[in-house]
């Protein structure tokens, strides 16, 4: 009896902590529904009548649909590319036990140790030469190089748990190596693939520095994070617009999180522990 009471008290305390912890975000929601004068009088008060005009304005000023589309294109190209390139290479490198294979593996995973800021200056130069700047497609392609090392590492480890007999089966049936891989092996890698998708999509969707460097100045090729940053700079005093803008920017990621919650937790843990 005493014990369960203690657990109950801890539970209540933790819920209180959680509310305080999330209070900044609660304030964002409250203030996105207020008029400008209401924000100026008291940030903590609830809106007298919820006003959705801020969202309408922020939606229009941000050109929200095209932003979402741009970010989605870059994220999709980036994530799909990373999944394909790293699963193929991770599988082959894990199966081939030669010195050359080991060497290629090291070349592929060593870049995990190079921080992005250590090569971004020259990366911008290379992106310009390859005509990858100023477009979300180019941005997606650059993500391949940045995302493959960790993902390849994760596939490489997981493939060991897939019996080699399956490779031989597909081979005897006369499949081409690529078809054998995508029809027989790739479906079996699904648990890692989920983790890889989650890790890469969350990172690319929320990334700021690379888009800032390679898309800068290109109005048509804005991503959500980049546009949000500019938006905040522009509407410095209109906090009500800005708060609605924050919510609009954050919503897709929250939906993604709610839809894939289990996989996200698993993916994040997998990625972290493997690295």
């Amino acid at each position: 009896m005493k014990r369960s009471l203690a657990w109950g008290a801890l539970s209540v305390a933790l819920f209180l902590v959680a509310i305080i912890y999330l209070y900044p975000l609660i304030l964002v929601v409250i203030n996105s529904l207020k008029t400008f004068t209401e924000i100026m009088t008291d940030v903590t008060a609830l809106p007298t009548a919820p006003d959705f005009q801020n969202f309408v304005n922020a939606f229009r000023l941000l050109e929200y649909p095209s932003l979402c589309l741009n970010t989605l294109i870059a994220t999709a190209i980036g994530t799909i590319g990373v999944v394909l390139l790293s699963s193929m290479a991770g599988y082959r490198l894990s199966r081939t036990k030669t010195r050359a294979s080991w060497f290629v593996f090291i070349i592929c995973v060593a870049p995990m140790m190079i921080p992005f800021q250590s090569f971004m200056i020259a990366l911008v130069k290379i992106a310009k030469i390859l005509h990858l700047t100023g477009s979300v497609y180019g941005l997606g392609v650059i993500y391949w190089g940045l995302g493959v090392p960790l993902s390849l590492f994760m596939y490489h480890g997981f493939v060991k748990s897939v019996p080699t007999e399956l490779d031989d089966c597909a081979r005897i049936d006369g499949c081409s190596p690529l078809r054998a891989f995508f029809q027989v092996i790739f479906p079996l890698l699904q648990p890692v693939t989920m983790s890889v998708i989650v890790i890469n999509a969350m990172w690319m969707w929320n990334d700021f520095l690379l888009p800032l460097l390679v898309l800068s100045g290109e109005k048509k090729a804005m991503t959500l994070q980049l546009a949000a940053y500019n938006f905040f700079g522009q509407y410095k005093i209109e906090w009500n617009y800005a708060m609605a803008g924050v919510l609009l920017t954050v919503t897709p990621a929250i939906i993604f999180y709610i839809a894939l919650q289990k996989h996200i937790i698993k993916g994040m843990t997998a990625g972290a522990v493997k690295a």
Binding site: L27, D42, Q117, I121, L146, T269
Partner: protein, 297 residues
């Protein structure tokens, strides 16, 4: 017979290449080549516009160490920030993980709640907190009259350091909490129960049994928090932009400003090469320190 063998060898080599070369190409083009180029640029003077950078030997490195108060300030800030960030993030995340791995009610909701800030991009997080520190704190002061809310949390050099730490820790806790929970779940319950029967107190049980067993998680979390703190950028970019003055300019932000605001690409490259070595040194040291202490249940 021999040509048959050769053919098979050729085919398996081709297959190996077909599977691996695409990955190698993108990694080389977008990570390794630019990194090597940065190392080369670090020995040059180059404004990004001239066709050919001018070779100047170690002059950039000399300047960093002898004649660049901004970089030294950024180095000091980054190291101090890293110490605070790594300490508070890991301690709080571990405490939460222990609390939320117990029999407490509603732990799934609580876990999700603490994870929420981690879904939001750092750029937005920084902006949300700029709102809290300015408008929010004004209202808090009006309501509570607590003097702390009246201070200039983003305008004062010392306080803005604290603000950057608070916001970074606030955002990061959920992620590390999840890793610690995963670690705690691998601790066999019978060992803990055996210790309980032997009369070990809960603090002894935690430090003597649980901690050593979740050392792999601690190693990972320290590694991650160290390397991400040392290259912190986004949150500062939108929260303080390195200010007031250069009080909260991290190395990564200093590199960005040197290269893309001052157009000193050679000099910025030298700084970026140093950042690489700094992170490598710190993380390799940490890993070697922790890896050999890991035990198994």
């Amino acid at each position: 017979m021999k040509s048959e063998n050769l053919k098979r060898h050729l085919r398996s080599t081709l297959e190996f290449a077909g599977f691996t070369v695409p990955a190698v190409i993108v990694i080389f083009a977008f990570v390794e080549l630019p990194f090597l180029m940065s190392v080369l640029y670090s020995f040059t003077k180059w404004n990004g516009l001239d066709k050919v950078p001018v070779f100047i030997g170690f002059a950039n490195y000399m300047e960093i160490f002898t004649n660049d108060p901004n970089m030294m300030q950024a180095l000091g800030f980054t190291l101090l920030f890293t110490v605070f960030m790594v300490f508070f993030t890991n301690v709080i995340a571990m405490l939460l993980a222990v609390a939320l791995d117990s029999k407490v009610r509603g732990k799934n909701v609580l876990r999700a709640a603490f994870y929420v800030p981690n879904i939001i991009s750092m750029i937005i997080i920084g902006y949300i907190w700029r709102f809290i520190f300015s408008k929010g704190f004004d209202s808090f002061y009006a309501l509570t009259k607590i003097p702390a809310f009246q201070l200039s949390w983003l305008g004062d050099a010392k306080l803005s350091f604290v603000s950057v730490v608070i916001v970074s820790v606030w955002q990061a806790i959920g992620f590390y909490m999840v890793i610690y929970i995963a670690g705690l779940q691998t601790v066999p319950k019978d060992i803990i129960e055996a210790a309980m029967i032997d009369g070990a107190r809960s603090s002894t049980r935690f430090f003597r049994i649980t901690m050593p067993l979740i050392l792999p998680s601690i190693t990972v979390c320290l590694f991650y928090s160290l390397s991400s703190a040392l290259k912190t950028f986004d949150v500062i970019f939108s929260l303080t932009f390195g200010g007031p003055g250069t009080a909260t300019t991290s190395i990564a932000l200093d590199i960005y400003k040197t290269a893309f605001s001052d157009s000193r690409f050679g000099y910025g490259s030298a700084k970026s090469v140093l950042l690489f070595f700094l992170i490598l040194l710190v993380t390799v040291f940490q890993l070697s320190l922790f890896k050999k202490r890991e035990v198994e249940a």
